[in-house]
Subunit: 314 residues, 3 copies
């Protein structure tokens, strides 16, 4: 069985995955895509298993994407949110998760503002941990769904040029994508103001550009990041207006990429800030396809992790 390639008990980061494991996840995801768009039916793979959505940061798309994925695999899904949790009563993350763990869930999907918290959980949890975004660190299922979208378009994940534009410094989406495309041997250009794209990122195998036109030239993939408005106004860039003038992708700047290039964005969009509306809604854009692929990729990850618990032997 090909699935024996997959060695992970958890999905913490793209860093942890081999190119073969990435290929396998995408292959399984593709089979789920096919079924899902035709005659959707439930798969029994996780029947009787409990998946917990433990979100300490609010989220619509990621949380519900995992919820739909888990339910399509027949799992029982329990939503936890920080606002109703005992954390408000001063309980530590460790005690919260240990309590949750004692309820014998099979998979815990965690989003947390602290980088490294999913990995920390694996030091004491017996269930499989999935990182749904941790601080400025990684957001592996986002990079995987991006990769699936790219593969659907180009029939390959190798030999491509990807440009990522915006606040690279604070973006776990960017980090996971950089690591993934570096593993796959793709050419990566990172574009933005120096305050948001430090030269140090070149150590990750990317090239840094401070000029949008120069960086985007000849790209197969143009991936925009969301502008965090609270970072404007003198902290990282002078103003939204200034930022837009220099780094918005629009018909003109996008035309410098390859003829066959696609436009990506993890959402939600700031229309006419980092992305021109007419371009976002054009047939160059695969933004909604990314969302669709999110379900399939998360189904594939849940399927591969299987939800086998380590039993304690002590």
């Amino acid at each position: 069985m090909k699935e024996t390639i997959f060695k992970q008990k958890h999905l913490l980061s793209i860093e942890d995955l081999s190119p073969e494991e990435i290929d396998l996840i995408l292959e399984i995801a593709e089979s789920f895509v096919e079924v899902s768009t035709r005659n959707i039916k439930k798969f029994p793979a996780l029947k009787g298993k409990t998946v917990v959505n433990l979100f300490f940061e609010s989220s619509t798309r990621t949380r519900s994407s995992f919820e739909i994925a888990a339910k399509r695999l027949s799992a029982d899904l329990i939503n936890f949110s920080a606002s109703i949790s005992s954390l408000k009563k001063g309980e530590s993350l460790r005690d919260t998760v240990l309590t949750l763990e004692a309820m014998n869930p099979h998979i815990i999907v965690i989003r947390h503002s602290a980088s490294g918290s999913p990995k920390y959980l694996t030091t004491f949890a017996r269930s499989s941990i999935i990182n749904a975004g941790d601080g400025f660190h990684e957001h592996p299922t986002q990079a995987l769904l991006d990769a699936l979208t790219i593969k659907q378009k180009f029939k390959t994940l190798r030999g491509l040029k990807i440009s990522i534009i915006g606040d690279i410094l604070h973006s776990r989406v960017a980090r996971s994508n950089i690591i993934l495309h570096h593993k796959m041997g793709n050419e990566i250009s990172l574009i933005g103001p120096p305050s948001l794209v430090p030269k140090e990122f070149e150590q990750m195998g990317a090239k840094v550009y401070y000029d949008l036109k120069e960086g985007v030239k000849n790209s197969d993939i143009v991936m925009m990041l969301r502008v965090q408005e609270e970072r404007g106004g003198g902290n990282y860039f002078p103003s939204i207006r200034e930022y837009r003038k220099l780094f918005e992708i629009n018909q003109e700047t996008f035309s410098l990429a390859k003829e066959s290039a696609i436009l990506m964005h993890p959402g939600p969009l700031n229309r006419d800030v980092e992305i021109e509306t007419s371009l976002a809604d054009s047939d160059k854009s695969v933004i909604l396809q990314q969302v669709t692929n999110g379900i399939a990729v998360r189904m594939a990850v849940l399927y591969l992790l299987k939800g086998e618990r380590n039993e304690i032997i002590n």
Copy 2:
């Protein structure tokens, strides 16, 4: 098959339905009522389908009524609420729904304060849209569950006199009921202060009364609307006390309706404001039966819409 009468892909309004479609919905709902009160079991009709509750206004009864209905049909139900959605990050309704749509749900149940928003969704969504209340416009499943309750009592939906009392102007429940009973050829009287019941409503086929006793005379159905307390105090009526004196239904005023008349209210009640407690709890009241019928009517609507998605052909 009788079900071929039903031509709708969405349920946006009573306006859109033919009398035959209304009859069909109620007939199917009646069969669900019968089963539900005996030995409840799950129906497989929506197995593998995803229903999204997208509520931008808070709601206990409608949201959970749809949730129970969907689950009894074996659908997967995903709850969205505005407070956790990306709308807080400034995303437009269109982008929120497009994102949701990309997850391939089959049916989206939407409540929104903007009249017409469910219809707007149909211009770009591929799933079936159900209006669970839009601004001052319509609340079609409420009118349908009211109609089912009326039909259970009178064995017919024709040739009846219905009086609706209260804030007609701002009530989507009233509007949907007026349209439904006008379609069915029933006599409609609308009762309340002139500020809340403008004469213009007569163009909808109703008769307007500013005197409770006069309007309620000879009614088969007396339907009270909830007083929105924030409308009192000089805006639409002088005070709650004043309002109550003129428009509260009580044993005395209710006795002017027919001997066999029933008392309805969409809930939640303001006891001893628009409705006298002893009357609300009497055997004239069918208020709780309305709630029970809500499940059956929503099951019928979900069942008829089937959740077949339009596939894109472009």
Copy 3:
């Protein structure tokens, strides 16, 4: 069938249960524990039944424990919380529950700050009511899961000495445990400052101690209660620091209990306030086992109540 021992339609309190009923619940729970820790699968016992979690106080562990238990028995679970309910619109508890009832749920699990509210519901509700904590009154499933944990350790629920330490006065957990262990004929010592452990508790069959060392001596079970920090600072005890000095359980004070003694806590912990961290994490502690047993006990209770609704015959 042994199950005919169980005479309850509701689970309102430990007070209502006979020792035989308690034994039966634990016996069934034990069989669920066994299955749950091996190869978890769904049980069809509550298939097609609707369980409502109606929580008027926030809670992570109890709410989700009931949710997981219900789902493992194949029930449909609907979460209600006070914040989204019509109570905000001024509806009474009675009207809220009557509305909910009209949706024909089979079991309502209620947590409410008013002592006696679950019992009040039984006066007009047709579904089975489970008390998930009512004011300072009872929290019967907590006492049952504690009892299961004790029985797993000592192979019996009789002839033991249990010490309960902390704010007995305001603790429904303590009350339910006192009643349960008094029924079972166990020796009970209650320990804390006089302001939190009035002498009157001796009428419940317990012995009151104001000295931790004296009370804890020779115990089989040491059960700590959570310090409610808002009670410190002059109201019930001078300060957290003072409280800790006198009533924290630590390696030293715990050593006065029997060699085989176990340490319990309903969670969430105030580490190094009422309980020393090294002790909480030692192999004397069964705190996480309590959480695990919560699922099994709630499954047993849901299973025994069966969710048969009284049908109205009027």
